[in-house]
Symmetry: D2
Subunit: 349 residues, 4 copies
């Protein structure tokens, strides 16, 4: 098979990074088209990287029959509709997380994905492709820590990004802390524990920025989840991490424990000065997950060429979203919430 020709929609910060990777750093891949509603972005990228096609209209891009795959990096609210259109137009599809902002649309997308079984669909749960996370998964599968029964996940955005987020959140529906920030961790928990959630209690508050309360959201929050077989999940998500972007995951098993990112170190330098021995910390997701953002797309292209399915499924997107909504509901009501199967709900309607 020849190089996979990809068209990308969305050229924001992360979208642009994906576009650059697709253009230059992914084996057997060609960035053939770029699309954004912002004309200047499209023109700039097309010119700088010499991209054959450029669009400001997504539907127009889907008419381009030279393309093999569509890469969706647009704002979250557009994901579901764009996934559906691209699949129906016959393309392989990669979509950034989340699958959708609402559970219903996520469920609908799942149906659409399942109707196009010959096309590759992949969701951007990139952490599974991070070398450290992949290594941890391998260790667990090899039995290194026995049976995993507790996972603790920290997903903390750097404090210096908080003003930008507040601005965004006042104008847009982000889904709130648990759906927006914790969604990666909810996916990781299901993946590492190999179990689904049964019950959740979520708490939190606004400690330094009272505006979060006005948005009915938490600045920092914690959720405890009871999974099948009494397995336990502890999730801390936040927007105000003084030392930087702190993504840490711990899996405790009957024979050992793994910690990933115990200190969210920026690199391998330790600075010794009058402060002490200092490990500087990650600035944000582009720095921390640079390699994972490449590897997940390498896997996507490789799946298309080899005609196989990626490890992340649309169901992972649906079930993580369902759990995220249960966290959100618990946080908003203060109650202990049963996590019902989204498929059950679907049937009931």
């Amino acid at each position: 098979m020849n190089r996979v020709k990809v068209g990308i929609v969305g050229l924001g910060r992360l979208g642009r990074q994906h576009a650059e990777n697709l253009a230059f750093r992914i084996p057997n891949c060609e960035l053939s088209a770029v699309c954004s509603v912002i004309l200047e972005e499209v023109e700039e990228v097309q010119k700088e990287w010499n991209i054959p096609y450029a669009y400001t209209n997504y539907d127009e891009m889907l008419k381009n029959k030279e393309l093999d795959a569509i890469f969706i990096a647009s704002p979250s609210g557009f994901h579901c509709e764009q996934i559906e259109k691209a699949l129906n137009a016959g393309f392989h599809v990669f979509s950034e997380k989340p699958l959708g902002l609402y559970l219903e649309e996520a469920l609908h997308v799942q149906e659409v994905v399942n109707m196009h079984k010959d096309q590759v669909f992949m969701l951007g749960f990139m952490r599974r492709y991070d070398k450290s996370y992949a290594y941890a998964k391998k260790k667990i599968e090899e039995g290194k820590i026995g049976e995993p029964f507790l996972i603790r996940c920290y997903g903390l955005d750097p404090a210096k990004a908080i003003n930008g987020f507040m601005q965004f959140a006042k104008n847009n529906y982000s889904g709130g802390l648990f759906l927006d920030m914790a969604i990666h961790d909810l996916d990781l928990a299901r993946w590492f524990l190999n179990a689904e959630a049964k019950q959740v209690w979520a708490i939190g508050g606004a400690y330094a920025y009272p505006d979060f309360s006005k948005l009915n959201d938490a600045e920092t929050g914690a959720a405890m989840v009871k999974f099948e077989d009494n397995k336990m999940g502890i999730f801390v998500a936040g927007r105000n991490s003084a030392h930087g972007y702190h993504i840490e995951t711990e899996i405790i098993g009957t024979k050992g424990t793994l910690r990933i990112g115990m200190v969210p170190e920026k690199n391998m330098v330790t600075v010794f000065d009058e402060t002490g021995a200092v490990k500087e910390c990650s600035d944000g997701f582009l720095e921390r997950f640079e390699q994972a953002y490449l590897s997940e797309v390498e896997e996507f292209i490789s799946c298309i060429r080899d005609n196989r399915k990626p490890n992340v499924t649309v169901e992972d997107g649906v079930l993580s979203t369902a759990l995220g909504y249960a966290c959100k509901e618990s946080f908003e009501t203060g109650e202990l919430i049963m996590v019902q199967s989204p498929y059950h709900k679907l049937t009931n309607k």
Copy 2:
């Protein structure tokens, strides 16, 4: 004032360590009497360390008017009665934790303590006197991390001690995981957050040792606590830590975070071998808290000599016990539990 003369009751593993410290390593202190129901223990210690008085009957020891203070290191079930008797006999009293196995007796002891305001009473929450914990407290008081709003506490006993514990637990009421293991952490949480608990949900199970389920106890458990002002507490307690005795505490504040014992390292040696770079871990509480066990008693003796009160109060014992019982109730019922003031309950009776 001259040296403080102390009589100790209980010469088990921890009791004997305390006795040795009282005899040799605490300034201005003299171990004048030892007491245990096991005659051989008493005789051995008396002879080896040349202790003036030895008893197998606690009440007899309380008649010794040369003594200034009684140090209680007997099994938990005796604490309340022995504290009361010693206070009524006019002695200063140090008691190992817990204050009592039942909330009612703890409340009663509080009344007794309050009736003897001229005598020093101190509870063995030694972690507050560990250098690292004390340092963390100081940092917080200096505003280093802003306002603390989340605490995460791990209290994990080494796996190699599990058979011994199972044997003990089958024959004795230990209070269960949350009262027995987590009690130190519940005290620390109240101390660091400077807030009382409002609600708790606790989960857990038996993952490697099904016998815990028969005892209606958890091998490893987790509790999430909502404190006043939406502050959050996360507690993980367990009996099966593969790598050793893992006591870790994290306090997240609006401006920074402190972690104490992130890696429960045995000492300052790192071993590099075919395994990798290895930090060996603490064996157990006597190794990890060797210094704290000395410092708390130094403080007790110093309080007696200076006629002042220690930082740990009887109320700390009562409130931690109340929270421990709420965790236990939540674990047993699966419900979200309101943590009611124990004083409120008392009044209602």
Copy 3:
């Protein structure tokens, strides 16, 4: 400018990795030709990656006028001759380290490079392009540690590679421990200290593998170097590192210290098991410097396109080689050796 078309010579372990990177992961670059004396290697790579041209004769490849640049990853003994030929044929040249096995040929190459000032020449001192090393350099330039005055460099190959090395060394002239292993560190020292070496004393021996003595080489060795302005360099190189590939660099300045790779950790996972808290370590240079091997070549291609010179110069190659030879001489004679300028020597001839 269009994509830079590259021909690579040498398809061994590192050569093949470079080839794959040139083919797929370097922006604005195209791998147009591959060359190796081993026919099967050439055929396999050409077919697998669909490379236009393939050669078993280096001189033939140099006749291909479609190429812009030659990438030399052949055995060290060929570097000088191949660099000279490629430059004379008008190509930009990237050569893996070392510049040459002998100081005289390195000096000769420098003359050749200087005669082709319009062509880019770059030497594979990739560590300068490793994110952590680059970060350390930036910190120093910003004055973070004041004036650097001591550097300590560890370059230790994993024990599990020792048999392979012994086999190689019995049949080939490797240059010995200080020229072969320590050469990267000697370059780093000059780069970080911004000073040239004046005197060196080197010691070492064969501790587990007596065969090193027969080869007149050291299994592990140490060199102490006095640089200009009394700056100090400490170098430990070895072939028998139990825990893996250990590359560590420390720079001490008047106001602080930087350590790079203090623990040569494989990734961000910490394993807690009965051994303790374990950081697994790097397997070898391809794992540790994966990113640096990409970034240096990105820089090479970028220099060609932008018509500018890379930070690593041919002089860096010459001076590091001269220092390596001084270490070797000291180790062999046991004497304290003056490091004479290689240019001085040249003039004297």
Copy 4:
């Protein structure tokens, strides 16, 4: 045997700490006499701790026949004379390091010690009694790292103490960096490698404080030592460590490596703030070696009571001093120096 009665001479910073330990924290020991030429010091300590005897004249203290042992914590220049007098007066003797400022007097003390074989003599190389160092020694004896062949020792005093030291050094002969600071490390090297030094080269300079050059001393220096069997020693000593008191020791063996104090952490707290993840560092020797200062004296008292000899011998003091002098000579002359046996020298006279 009853409690060992000790008289201490020297009540400076370290002396006073020793005195307090002897008085209160050492089992089976009694501080019966204190001596200092400064009357106020003596009076203050006597009164505060209720010490039976106090002297301003050392010879007077030696006449007190109630004493069993003399503890010497006076300035270095007095050690030899005071050791000799105390031994001749029949006392057991503990002396702080160094044995003497000059090799000749150290050799003389050795003769005196050897003439009093029934008395315990111990030198304050307390690091051997630090838990981490003792643990490392045990690991080596168990064969954990195979045969040790390289030791690297850092002994760096905190920058904040530098002005105090400069003041002292301008008025007193300290012995210089290698004899004063590195002496502990020279002892450790001999202990861990189980080999004696053959050759040394030492370099160094004044980088931030030019006054060191005027004193003919180094602000920071490095020495490389060739030991018997080609074993290697690397020593870095300094007075200007920005982050604090940095004592680090690494022992590399044929099967593994041990590092002690890789990060000279103050305690088990990690601070996460805008700087990153910070381990604060040790302030100085009293903080870092608090436990070792107790344990060495416990061992001294225990040796007296059990009628046995401590692990540190007078010969360790002599041989470390001889090596320190060789470092000093190399630093001053710039030459590679043969380390001659001090006993050989003695014979030659």
